[in-house]
């Protein structure tokens, strides 16, 4: 086996994780180069080559595959550098992208603007045509008018086209014909048809996926070609893959054809890594928290599956646009190391969502920040060693942090600096707990059966506190926790998602119709595994069905037990699974009531990486570091023992209160908690007495 690379381009750093021939891992960090992100990718590889004592060319020629995580697509949207895109819609319905689906947050907050449509009305064109709910053609496509519109687009300098017609998902004939006309009249102009990119119910969701996809095709096509070309020139001859929002990877050239799949790829790998590092069978549920500087992302692994959602927003819910595509269900809140703490006029403490970000950052970074943050509180409590931050690469200003906490929090609340710092940590913890509740408890998942997997640079500061508040079984901090996404990317599956709409009821189940749809999906999966998936060591298909009670409006995703329905018993099983899941999620069910199906899904996953994730190279230094003063939750400062994460051996037991530190993170082991390392290199923390 050759070298495998995972390169994750973040806002500040480009993280590279290399899996060596023997499966051992090494981590490298280069600065991100926002104007030309591929340069940062190459730089990180150059660092790794140097560390191995080889030339870049020689080193890369040993490479087998490279998985790339990029925020280039979402950045293009945020900075408005996507293509000039036109939207073709069914006549009579020009405002689908303007009206969206309604809804609003913060009912009394009128300081936030209503979002502009993703494609301006100026570039929205009504096409005379209409398909009905049963797929019949109510109004035939007016080709002459369509051609006039397309000629007009040419004149207006349009660079991409999205086409979404009502009910194209039942009968795609009009969209297909418009696609042909585009190729004839505007050859070379990228376009996207809604029934191909997102064949699902609800015209807004389908339309928004379509126009986002079209708008990204030129820029992402260029990016992917540039990436592959430059890697080839540098000597890499292996396969280039990119991370998707669904928590899988796809070939770079395929991603360029469907770039809407990339926009939420940032947080999608954390649960993949968690699933790989925490052995199956240890818990039904893994709660995965990824703490960065400004946001805290929570995702789940539930009975071996990573839950998906179609409600992923480009920005804040209701104040931006949805992607409409199935993505890993990630809840993000504005809480992280950079979250600012302050006391309002009425005397109430707030932590976040405003953040000091990377610049100026916390007060203790000494880069001009003046308002105290969670990181400053952690420093004041002794959770972070001011001399050993990022392995000693940066010295922190503890006095500055303390002064800011005193002025902004301790004095207004009339409490000591230590108490104030503790209060900041406690409130940040509570906000994170509430975010976790939103995707667990509120959906019927009991965190007390779960393991909390903490990732991200600031994860260790309060992962024990979060785990205790949720009454979790235990907390796991992975060996490469600070680069959870990159470690997930190394072992993620090549995947593709196929879906089809088919409506039937369980009390009048159209077995033949459903099997026909499932067979169609199976054929597409099969084609995928014989083409893109060729050479995979294993492949499997995850089947699911989006269903609801008759008259309900929202579907839930039911895993299917097989790929076909043989008899009435299979239908009964589907019904039973639905009732059980509904009861689980919402605390009510209506057993005996029939259900109706809307969408059928097949996700094929081809294993191209190794079955098990690798380990960092062993660290032979002493596990003990000098002790220091730390103030653990609800205690006074004590002289706490400090251990080096990488050097702790299997079998060693660490009893809280204690600190465990790596070059990238500090883990607070509160009193009553016990920690050890397992065979995967994880730090496993037993939280002590449970409620």
């Amino acid at each position: 086996m050759g070298l495998r690379f995972a390169v994750d381009t973040g806002g500040t750093f480009t993280d590279l994780m290399v899996s060596d021939d023997d499966g051992s891992l090494s981590m490298h960090k280069a600065s991100t180069t926002p104007k030309d992100p591929v340069a940062g990718v190459i730089n990180s590889l150059t660092l790794a080559a140097a560390a191995s004592g080889q030339s870049l060319n020689a080193y890369l020629s040993r490479g087998e595959l490279l998985v790339h995580g990029t925020t280039h697509a979402i950045n293009a949207i945020v900075t408005g550098s996507t293509a000039r895109t036109a939207f073709l819609t069914t006549g009579g319905h020009p405002d689908t992208l303007v009206i969206r689906e309604g809804g609003r947050m913060e009912p009394f907050n009128f300081t936030v603007a209503y979002p502009e449509p993703y494609v301006p009305r100026e570039l929205t064109f009504e096409i005379p045509e209409r398909i009905a709910v049963d797929g019949s053609i109510k109004t035939a496509l007016d080709e002459a008018e369509t051609i006039r519109v397309l000629e007009n687009l040419k004149a207006r300098g349009v660079e991409a086209i999205g086409v979404c017609f009502l009910w194209s998902v039942i009968n795609p004939v009009h969209e297909q014909r418009v696609g042909e006309l585009i190729e004839r009249i505007l050859p070379g102009i990228p376009y996207t048809l809604s029934h191909r990119i997102n064949p699902s119910l609800r015209e807004y969701r389908r339309a928004i996926s379509t126009v986002i996809d079209a708008s990204l095709k030129p820029i992402m096509g260029a990016y992917m070609r540039g990436l592959e070309d430059r890697l080839r020139v540098a000597g890499f001859l292996g396969r280039v893959l990119v991370i998707t929002s669904q928590g899988g990877v796809m070939d770079a050239k395929d991603a360029a054809e469907a770039p809407v799949n990339l926009i939420n790829s940032g947080p999608s790998m954390a649960p993949v890594a968690a699933q790989a590092y925490v052995a199956e069978g240890r818990a039904d549920t893994l709660i995965v928290g990824d703490t960065g500087g400004t946001t805290f992302d929570v995702s789940l692994v539930r009975k071996g599956r990573i839950p998906r959602t179609r409600e992923t927003w480009l920005g804040q819910p209701f104040r931006s646009h949805m992607t409409g595509m199935p993505s890993v269900d990630v809840k993000s809140i504005g809480a992280g190391g950079g979250s600012i703490a302050y006391v309002d006029k009425g005397g109430l403490l707030h932590v976040g969502p405003i953040s000091a970000g990377a610049m100026p950052g916390p007060v203790c970074y000494g880069r001009g920040g003046t308002r105290p943050t969670v990181t400053d509180a952690a420093l004041a409590l002794g959770f972070i060693d001011p001399e050993f931050f990022l392995g000693g690469k940066m010295t922190l200003d503890r006095e500055g942090a303390i002064a800011a906490i005193r002025k902004d929090v301790a004095e207004p609340l009339g409490i000591s600096v230590e108490k104030a710092a503790e209060a900041i940590m406690a409130l940040a913890t509570e906000h994170m707990v509430q975010a976790i509740m939103d995707i667990t408890v509120h959906q019927g998942i009991d965190p007390s059966d779960a393991i909390f997997v903490a990732g991200g640079g600031a994860a260790g500061l309060n992962c024990v506190a979060i785990g205790r508040r949720l009454n979790c079984r235990s907390v796991v901090v992975t060996e490469a926790a600070a680069a959870l996404a990159a470690s997930g990317a190394l072992i993620s599956d090549l995947s593709a998602h196929y879906q089809a709409m088919f409506h039937t009821r369980s009390d009048a189940f159209d077995t033949h119709g459903v099997n026909y749809v499932l067979d169609g999906l199976a054929a597409r999966c099969d084609l995928f595994s014989r083409t893109a998936g060729i050479g995979a060591t294993a492949s499997r298909i995850e089947w699911s069905c989006e269903a609801r009670y008759i008259e309900q409006a929202w579907e839930i995703d039911i895993p299917l037990r097989g790929s076909r329905f043989a008899n009435a018993l299979d239908v009964k099983t589907l019904e039973d699974d639905f009732h059980r899941l509904h009861q689980d999620k919402f605390a009510v069910a209506d057993p005996g009531a029939p259900i109706e199906t809307v969408t059928w899904n097949a996700e094929i996953r081809c294993r191209i990486g190794s079955e098990r994730p690798g380990r960092l190279k062993p660290d032979t230094r002493s596990a003990s570091l000098p002790s220091r003063k730390v103030r653990f939750l609800g205690q006074d400062f004590i002289d706490a023992p400090v251990y080096r994460f990488e050097a702790i051996t299997e079998g060693m037991s660490i009893v809280g209160p204690a600190m465990v530190e790596s070059d990238f993170t500090s883990v607070v082991i509160d009193q009553g908690a016990k920690a050890h390392r397992d065979m995967m290199g994880n730090l496993v923390i037993d939280l002590g007495d449970r409620k």
Binding site: D95, G102, M105, T111, Y114, D438
Partner: protein
């Protein structure tokens, strides 16, 4: 430690508040995802709150303002007064507008949270607008109903519907005999009870963890904090008393000129109080427009909260600094049985909220809002009929807009109406066509219907829909046909609403504003919703925004020039000189 006197600091308050809000949010999530009817699960027309044992509003998740500010307190008090002994496992059904509910279509479930010693600690309430509530006609908004008897809905003034966690099946069977599409009602009922039970379960766990006395102590200190925040806000406002009027269109049983609502807002910074006098208004009328006490109190309050720092918590504490004066037997006051309050949440309630927020705007730049477009056009009407032998009934949300211009933003497009604040969703055409035998020919925004202003109101929406293979009744109560949403501080009025029958030959037949109309299989319903009012003089609007509105087709060139004073050339680029001249003229005309 004596828990009664423990002073909680700002961090303890923040922590417990996060947990209380989390519980209310969990209730709302349950209700949204488990309901059956479109109005609940698609439109999200429901609310979830937590009250103290003393019936003080504590936490509301993100609910519809008109549903929750006042009313839940009165409902909980009714529950406690009518049932001297409250037991764990009890649940109460409440929809009586004479006892604190908004209107009879808002079925509410109240559950007392009882600790292990049998002490009533909190009340949780889940309120959900029903697709049908058993009215004489298939609509939940009986605008023309003479009284509660003509409405016909069963009225439940906090009636026990669960005991020891079991349904009182007598009540259930009564509902099933009266309410159209009983299976759908049953599904919604289960979802509502489920949401309230989730709240109960979470509060019981929280009480066990934190201690009940400490929790009670928390609630009082949280109210005190909220009151302090409100006092600070009011003290920073200019002192003043403003009276504004807003007129509801003529409806059945109203005077021929309609119903003019007068609101007097008195801001008293020295006392840190805002008072709203609603007593100078007509007596209750023999129609469904009368406000319930809950709506009469909530409408002025939501207008106040729309107009100030949105971070002030909305609960019993901040409410202490608002006094709303009502009169018994008044259309915008306390109704006497059997006055009908069938449409209490929308029409007159908006005519109360709108002048209050516009009056606050008149007090000072940067305060208040213009008027929001009126409800309830056929595009959010209740459609019903029989298709291939199967009855159907539901409220649709096919395009209703109307947000008001505010001090810093244009009107929020999908606000729906003042009391809703845009919290409801708008229907997917495909979902509607899948669920009901209807076909939606058009849904589009209408140019030149925005209320012009420095920050303009939202545009009105046009929708056109028809039944498929059957006839369809559409019930609606469309205010704003004659009286548009007014602007404030020099802002102008939004477009009016309208409704028509489109005959097979394409001609339009105007329809009355308050009606149940039968649309035949070969006809179409045409509905136009009202635009929102503008804030500030239109000629002060940022020219770039005007230009954008022109390019997007929201306003015509003529309108841009005449009203906004913005002149563009043939390439749709700004003509600076001509614009400045035109704006100078408009500015002088104002003086």
């Amino acid at each position: 430690m004596n828990t009664q006197t423990e002073i909680m600091d700002g961090s303890a308050l923040a922590l417990l508040t996060a947990r209380m809000e989390g519980i209310a949010r969990k209730m709302a999530n349950t209700l949204h995802r488990t309901g059956r009817s479109g109005i609940l699960t698609i439109a999200r027309d429901f609310s979830c709150v937590i009250l103290t044992a003393k019936h003080e509003l504590l936490a509301t998740a993100e609910s519809l303002p008109i549903h929750v500010l006042r009313g839940p307190d009165i409902m909980a008090r009714t529950m406690a007064e009518n049932h001297k002994v409250l037991r764990r496992g009890d649940a109460f059904l409440h929809n009586s507008p004479y006892h604190g509910c908004t209107h009879p279509a808002d079925h509410s479930i109240l559950i007392p949270v009882i600790d292990d010693e049998g002490v009533h600690r909190f009340t949780v309430l889940a309120k959900a607008h029903q697709a049908d509530c058993g009215n004489a006609l298939p609509t939940t908004y009986m605008g023309a109903a003479k009284d509660v008897y003509a409405e016909g809905a069963l009225i439940f003034p906090a009636v026990k519907v669960q005991e020891n966690y079991d349904h009182v099946m007598d009540i259930i069977r009564m509902c099933q005999m009266r309410i159209r599409v009983p299976d759908q009602w049953w599904g919604d009922y289960l979802a509502t009870v489920g949401a309230a039970r989730v709240g109960e379960r979470e509060l019981l766990a929280l009480g066990a963890e934190i201690g009940w006395d400490r929790l009670e102590n928390y609630t009082q200190q949280w109210f005190d904090y909220s009151e302090r925040r409100m006092m600070d806000v009011i003290r920073a406002m200019p002192k003043g008393r403003v009276t504004r009027k807003s007129t509801h269109d003529p409806f059945p049983a109203t005077p021929a000129e309609g119903v003019t609502i007068t609101a007097t807002v008195d801001v008293k910074p020295d006392e840190a109080m805002i008072e709203v006098d609603m007593t100078d208004n007509p007596d209750s009328m023999e129609n469904g427009l009368n406000l319930s006490e809950a709506c009469a109190l909530s409408a002025p309050m939501l207008a106040i909260f729309n107009s100030i720092d949105h971070t002030v918590p909305k609960n019993e504490g901040s409410f202490r600094r608002i006094r709303v004066h009502l009169r018994d037997g008044c259309i915008a006051g306390r109704p006497r049985h059997p006055t009908s309050c069938s449409a209490a949440t929308t029409n007159i309630a908006d005519r109360v909220a709108n002048p209050v927020q516009a009056a606050l705007a008149e007090l000072a730049e940067g305060l208040g809002q213009a008027e929001t477009g009126a409800l309830l056009p056929p595009s959010c009407g209740v459609v019903s009929g029989v298709h291939h032998g199967k009855p159907f009934v539901n409220e649709v949300y096919l395009g209703c807009t109307g947000g008001a211009g505010s001090p810093t933003q244009d009107g929020w497009l999908t606000i729906l109406h003042a009391g809703n604040a845009g919290m409801c969703y708008q229907d997917s055409i495909e979902v509607d066509e899948l669920r009901h035998p209807i076909f939606v020919h058009q849904r589009r925004l209408m140019p030149n219907t925005e209320g012009p202003g420095r920050f303009r109101g939202a545009l009105g929406a046009y929708s056109e829909f028809a039944p498929v293979d059957c006839d369809m009744t559409v019930a609606y109560i469309s205010d704003g046909n004659i009286n548009p949403a007014q602007g404030t501080r020099g802002g102008m009025a939004g477009g009016c609403s309208a409704q028509y029958r489109k005959r097979p030959d394409g001609t339009l037949e105007p329809l009355p504003a308050c009606a149940e109309v039968l649309i035949k299989a070969d006809e179409r319903m045409v509905s136009i919703s009202a635009g929102g009012g503008g804030y500030g003089p239109p000629h002060e609007r940022d020219a770039a925004r005007v230009l954008h509105d022109i390019r997007e087709g929201w306003i015509s060139l003529a309108r841009a020039e005449e009203i906004y004073g913005v002149v563009v050339n043939a390439e749709l680029e700004l003509d600076y000189v001509a614009t400045q001249q035109k704006r100078d003229v408009l500015q002088k005309a104002v003086k």
